[in-house]
Symmetry: none
C-alpha cells in the first residue's frame, strides 16, 4: 500500500505553526499569543479550529489560557532558572567570566555528588566517552563536543534535574571558551588525563578526591582562558559599583 496524500488537519497545522514561532524565538516564554479571533482571521480558519489547536498545545503544556485575560506561552519551570542566564551571557562582556566562575563553584561539588551516586552503567558510559575523546585527539581533533559530553554526563549522574539542566546550558554557553581553551598546545591531552583521573576517583567513590581534581582541572582551563590582568580588572570594577 502506498500512502501518499496529505490529510493534515487544520488544527494540526496551527499547532505546528505556533510551535515554529516558539522555536524561531518569535514567541518567547511568557509572551501573549494573539487572541483566538485574531488567529482565526490571520490563518483564515474558524475559531473552532483555533480552539482545538489551543487545547492541544495546552495539554502539551506549551501554552496556558486564562479566561478574560489571554493565552500565553507557558513558562517552563526550569527555564526560569536558565533563560535569564542566556540573556546575560550574550549581552554582557563579563558574562563568560561569570559563567565560568559559576562553573568553578558548582562543578567540583557536582563531581563529588557524582562519585556518590553514579551507577555502574553511567560510569561505563563515561569511560566510553573518554575513549572517544582519545580517538579524536589521536586523529588531531580537539574534541570539544566530547568534552561537553563528559561534563554533561557527570551532571546526569547526580540525578538532579535542575543541575542537569543548568550544566547543559552553561556548557552550551561556554562552547566558545572551551574551543579557545582547547586550542592551546597540549591542552586536549592534558584535559583527557584530567578526565581520566576524575573518573577514577568517581569510580572508587572518593568524593573529596573527585572534587579536588575537578577544581584543579577547571583552574587549569581558566588559567589558559583569562589573563591575570583581565581578572583583576573585573574585580576592581566589581568593587566599585555593586548594586542595581
Amino acid at each position: 500500500m502506498f500512502k501518499p496524500v496529505k490529510k493534515t488537519k487544520v488544527y494540526e497545522e496551527i499547532v505546528t505553526k505556533v510551535k515554529e514561532m516558539v522555536d524561531q524565538g518569535r514567541l518567547k516564554s511568557g509572551d501573549q499569543l494573539p487572541s483566538e479571533r485574531e488567529l482565526s482571521e490571520v490563518f483564515k480558519v474558524s475559531r473552532s479550529s483555533v480552539r482545538e489547536a489551543v487545547r492541544s498545545l495546552e495539554s502539551q503544556g506549551l501554552i496556558e489560557s486564562r479566561q478574560g485575560d489571554g493565552t500565553y506561552i507557558a513558562r517552563q519551570p526550569i527555564e526560569d532558572l536558565v533563560d535569564p542566564l542566556a540573556s546575560v551571557i550574550f549581552t554582557e562582556k563579563d558574562g563568560q567570566m561569570e559563567l565560568f566562575e559559576m562553573r568553578r563553584l558548582i562543578e567540583p561539588q557536582l563531581a563529588s555528588l557524582a562519585a556518590e551516586r553514579a551507577t555502574p552503567e553511567e560510569i561505563e558510559e563515561l569511560e566510553e566517552i573518554l575513549n572517544i575523546q582519545e580517538e579524536k585527539i589521536s586523529s588531531g581533533e580537539m574534541g570539544t563536543n566530547v568534552d561537553k559530553a563528559f561534563h554533561d554526563k557527570l551532571a546526569v549522574a547526580t540525578k538532579n534535574a535542575i543541575l542537569i539542566r543548568i550544566m547543559d546550558t552553561v556548557m552550551d554557553s561556554l562552547t566558545e571558551s572551551r574551543e579557545k581553551s582547547l586550542q592551546i598546545e597540549g591542552r586536549p591531552e592534558k584535559s583527557l588525563v584530567r578526565h581520566r583521573e576524575i573518573l577514577r576517583a568517581i569510580k572508587s567513590g572518593d568524593k573529596e578526591l573527585a572534587e579536588t581534581l575537578m577544581r584543579e582541572h577547571l583552574e587549569d582551563i581558566e588559567t589558559g582562558l583569562f589573563t591575570v590582568k583581565e581578572r583583576r580588572n573585573r574585580e576592581d570594577q566589581a568593587r566599585k559599583g555593586g548594586d542595581s
Copy 2:
C-alpha cells in the same frame, strides 16, 4: 461574597470523566468511544466542548480519532516516560529537594566568595538586615522575607550577575520550604545566630570559615525539612531510572 468555586471548565470535566472510565475499566484499550454527537447528548454539552476534550485527550496520547470511523482508546497507555518529568518536578516534593540540594552546593561557595569580595557598605547592609530579623523575631514573627533578603544580599556581594539571578530564583521557589522550616520551635532564633556567625566570618574575610558555617546552617535547615526516609526513597528511585 461566597464563591462556590466552580472553575472547572466543561471540556475538562469531560476529559476527567473519560479518564475515569478508562481507569475503572469501563473502557479498555482499543475500545471505541461513543460518537461526539452521542457524548454531547449524554453529557448535556455542546459538541464543541466534546471536541475540545477529544483534542486534549488525543494530544495526551490517550485516544485516537479517525474521520469517518470513530474515536478509540489508544493502545499501550505508556504515559510514564515523557511528560511527567519536566512538568511535575517542581510541584512535587522531589523538586523542592533538588532545589535545596542545589542550594547546598552553591551557597557555601557563595559565602566564601562573599567573604572575599563584600564591600564595607554591603557588610553594613547585611548587618542591618540581621537587626531587622532580630526585631521580627522579638515580636513573634518568623521573618521569612528577611531570611530571603540575607541570602540574596550575600549573592549580590559576589558581584556575579548569574549567581545573583539564580539565587534569587531559587530562594523564590523555596519560599514554601523556608516557611515550613522556620515554623519549627526555636528555628528562627537559631537561624539568626547562624547568620550572625556567617556575617562575622565574612567581615573578617575568612573564606573557609564562612563556607563551613553556611554549610552547617543549610544542613540544619534541611534536617528539619526532609526526613531521612524521604531522602533515602529519592536516592533509591534515582538509582533505578537514570537515563532518558
